[in-house]
């Protein structure tokens, strides 16, 4: 049951991300100059229609807004290729308010889902593949290869990714297209995340290797790789699954840190990491602009979904053994 909820959550977010251009009333970089850090426009029933009330600027410097309750702007559905939008272009529909640039947080969250989820997923898969291979081989074969692999993973672990990112950024041309940034970031994350997986997988494989069933398989003439992939690695699935749920949010957040040294997505592209980073630039965010933290809530839902979905797999494994 929980598993289904988890899968549903993840799938829902994936669908939302994929259909962002339709679901989001605005593009990721549409700015409303008069509405910086404005609160959400909450649709309510007025008569039989859903309407919103516009925000009026009270103090620009103090970023205070007043709701103009004398006006009710109707919402229009299925118009201009968007699911819903405001019938008055001068009164934007901002379901989660606006950020410090005046951009609609809701739209940016949906577009950001594309960037962050795909980056997180690709990086995590990359880390799992590299890490499981390295850890599995190291754990199974042992000896000098094990040492070399583990020391290499230590080196990767301790070399601050910031240094690498900074140096990398400076040898790249000034203007980086989003695709290049994506490839670079996922490569860096996959490499940096692999050692965590490798270490755990190695430990599991090493202990499983001595178990009866593995020894038996070997005695029966099964080849090394077959034992490794068919019998030993699956024992590590549970660990890998949990690590996945830890890596994905970690990567999404790390993207913001790396953007600090300049290795981030170019401006029109939104991402949850940078949205949260921008939000934390102003300490007022907790008290006065909590809607800026919605990417954290979004991430929470995704990670929750992943957790539920992957934990559910456990029951399948138990019956295998």
């Amino acid at each position: 049951m929980m598993r289904r909820i988890g899968i549903a959550l993840v799938v829902a977010w994936a669908l939302a991300a994929a259909s962002a251009p339709v679901l989001a009333p605005y593009s990721a970089d549409t700015r409303f100059a008069a509405l910086l850090n404005a609160p959400p426009t909450v649709p309510h029933l007025s008569g039989a229609r859903l309407t919103i009330q516009p925000w009026r600027l009270v103090s620009r410097l103090e970023q205070q807004y007043d709701r103009d309750s004398s006006r009710e702007i109707a919402l229009r559905w299925f118009a201009h290729g968007h699911l819903v939008e405001s019938s008055d272009p001068a009164v934007p529909l901002t379901l989660l308010g606006t950020d410090s640039f005046g951009r609609d947080v809701f739209s940016r969250m949906l577009f950001g889902a594309r960037t962050s989820l795909s980056l997180g997923l690709v990086s995590a898969i990359g880390a799992v593949v590299i890490g499981a291979l390295a850890g599995g081989v190291a754990g199974y074969l042992g000896g000098p290869l094990d040492d070399v692999l583990m020391r290499t993973s230590d080196f990767v672990m301790v070399l601050p990714a910031m240094y690498v990112a900074l140096a990398l950024r400076s040898v790249m041309p000034l203007v980086l297209p989003a695709s290049t940034v994506f490839v670079l970031l996922s490569a860096i994350f996959a490499i940096v995340g692999a050692p965590f997986i490798a270490r755990g997988v190695r430990a599991i494989v090493r202990s499983e290797r001595t178990l009866d069933y593995a020894v038996a398989a070997q005695a029966l003439g099964a080849s090394g790789p077959r034992i490794l992939f068919r019998h030993l690695l699956p024992a590590a699935f549970g660990f890998i699954a949990i690590q996945l749920t830890l890596l994905v949010p970690g990567f999404i957040v790390a993207e913001a840190t790396l953007s600090f040294v300049g290795l981030g997505f170019p401006n029109p592209i939104a991402s949850w990491g940078t949205m949260l980073h921008d939000a934390s630039a102003n300490v007022r965010v907790f008290a006065d602009f909590p809607w800026l933290l919605s990417p954290a809530a979004a991430m929470f839902l995704v990670v929750l979904g992943l957790n539920l979905a992957l934990e559910g797999r456990r029951t399948g494994l138990e019956s295998l053994r």
Binding site: L61, Q63, G262, V283
Partner: protein
């Protein structure tokens, strides 16, 4: 009060970082002091001075005072300080700024309380330049200078007992990464207008708080009295709220003397193999940009309205030097497009994008430093406004020093940057105005001026810095501003309004538009008990 990072040295001659400068303000004294409110020169260690008829030799009468360790201050200390400053072995960070036309000043002691300072050539600002040099105690540093180790003297590892100065405070302890503690200097010579012995304060604790948010929380919570910087636009609301509740006092100091700068790479040959070479370094492009960006929208978005539009290198709040004839560029996107058409950028197929003769879209990048929200917002506004007239702009954010590195090596299209200037007198900023200057942002360190107008500015600035008559200097500098605006090597949009926040404990303070809005007059700050 707070700073962002540790001092790099206790020797002001060897390091120019902000915290070191603050330490020098607190513990050292200079021959003269520039009052940052009136911009007038006030006597400090020099009681009075006279100048010879040729305006080159100044005779300064020194005060009979003592250093913080009770050692008398004499002319020898002045001579010593300048000798150490100009000593090539030490490579002092102040050496270059204390030269006129590349030649050092000659400092000589007439008697124990009189020195003469001779300028190599007539120098307009005169003694103003002396506000840069803290006078160091010879008795503490002479040994190091003679041994040639002055550059390594007074590093941050020096025990505080070995330091001495003629400033209002004395450094009593330093905990690396945490704080510096200064106690009042009982030998400080200054008295207030009503005759009280300064400084009013007994102790100043300088905390190192790298994060601005944490600093804000501390001042709201009453754990901090003075902030590192003025209040940024984003923080204004929080500070105002705290001020309304009586926890903080907000002081309005006026408009900034200089706006943030936006310029293009004008180095000849920088776009050698680039098809954009035909238009990207042209004056018309920058004029068009100046017309296309609505300065009101700019001020509203970037500074939340707390800024005034500026159209030239000097903002109107700099009353001493502002050229009152500065034309205000109207916000006229149509005229901007027409101007761009004259350099070959036209919207050929009416899709809203300007293209050059080959049909390639007019596209360039703005370089901006990460971690500075105001600069990032500004770049974003510029990009949006330019998109409206059909120019495609990429915003590139790089790490702080990487941006400076790119500027100095000339590897960029355009840059939006916030440079700092210490004194408003333009003659003290020659490395910006002269084409040979290292800070001549759009094309630094030129061997010979690459354009006729830069040569004109060079000549005018040289004359301006040599002449003594203030009216003549103003006239010459007005001319410089006129030429500057004609070519717009740097486009300015808005100068921000400066607000300073201090805690409610502070009773007396003299805020000014300066690098240290409050601490510049640290000896006159008072708090209630």
């Amino acid at each position: 009060m707070s700073v962002r990072s540790d001092p790099l040295s206790f020797n002001r001659l060897q390091s120019g970082d902000r915290t070191t400068e603050l330490c020098a303000i607190l513990t050292q004294a200079k021959l003269v002091r520039i009052n940052k409110v009136t911009q007038e020169v006030e006597p400090a260690l020099a009681e009075s001075w006279t100048v010879d008829a040729d305006h080159r030799r100044y005779t300064l009468k020194l005060r009979d005072v003592r250093f913080s360790d009770d050692h008398p201050f004499t002319a020898d200390d002045v001579v010593f300080t300048f000798a150490a400053l100009y000593d090539k072995k030490n490579d002092s960070v102040l050496a270059d700024s204390m030269t006129v036309n590349g030649k050092p000043l000659t400092v000589a002691a007439v008697d124990a309380h009189t020195v003469t300072i001779t300028f190599p050539s007539p120098y307009g600002p005169g003694v103003r330049i002396l506000d840069n040099v803290p006078i160091l105690p010879k008795h503490k540093l002479d040994a190091a200078e003679s041994a040639g180790t002055f550059a390594k003297a007074w590093t941050v590892a020096t025990p505080t007992a070995d330091l001495a100065g003629a400033g209002p405070f004395v450094l009593t302890s330093y905990a690396p990464g945490q704080r510096l503690v200064f106690d009042r200097n009982p030998h400080y010579w200054r008295t207030s207008a009503s005759g009280e012995h300064l400084p009013y304060l007994d102790r100043i604790t300088v905390e190192m708080i790298p994060d601005q948010n944490a600093e804000m929380l501390r001042i709201e919570g009453g754990q901090l009295d003075v902030m590192n910087d003025d209040v940024t636009a984003e923080a204004y609301a929080a500070v105002k709220q705290a001020a309304n509740q009586g926890r903080v006092q907000m002081l309005d100091v006026g408009s900034a003397m200089q706006a943030d700068s936006y310029w293009f790479n004008l180095k000849p040959g920088a776009f050698a193999n680039d098809p954009r070479a035909s238009w990207i370094q042209r004056d018309e492009l920058r004029h068009a940009i100046s017309m296309a960006v609505d300065r009101k929208t700019f001020a509203d978005t970037v500074f939340l309205g707390a800024a005034d539009p500026v159209y030239g290198p000097v903002s109107p709040s700099n009353r001493t030097w502002y050229w009152t004839g500065t034309p205000t560029t109207p916000h006229d996107p149509k005229a901007a497009k027409a101007l761009l058409a004259t350099i070959g950028l036209v919207d050929r197929n009416n899709d809203g994008v300007l293209v050059d003769a080959q049909g390639k879209p007019a596209r360039f990048s703005i370089l901006v430093q990460t971690g500075r929200p105001r600069l990032e917002r500004a770049a974003s506004v510029i990009a949006d406004e330019l998109k409206r007239i059909g120019l495609t702009v990429d915003i590139v954010t790089l790490e702080g020093n990487a941006v400076i590195g790119k500027i100095l090596s000339g590897q960029y299209d355009s840059v939006y940057f916030a440079p700092t200037m210490s004194d408003i007198d333009p003659a003290t900023n020659l490395d910006f105005w002269l084409s040979s200057g290292g800070f001549h942002l759009w094309n630094p360190s030129q061997k010979t001026p690459s354009t006729p107008w830069e040569k004109q500015i060079d000549d005018l600035m040289r004359r301006q810095s040599a002449v003594s008559d203030p009216a003549e200097r103003k006239r010459l500098f007005d001319e410089v501003q006129k030429i500057f605006i004609e070519h717009d090597p740097i486009v300015y949009f808005a100068a921000r309004h400066i607000y300073v926040a201090v805690s409610s404990r502070v009773t007396t303070v003299i805020p000014a538009v300066d690098l240290f809005p409050v601490m510049w007059a640290a000896d006159q700050i008072a708090v209630k008990h």
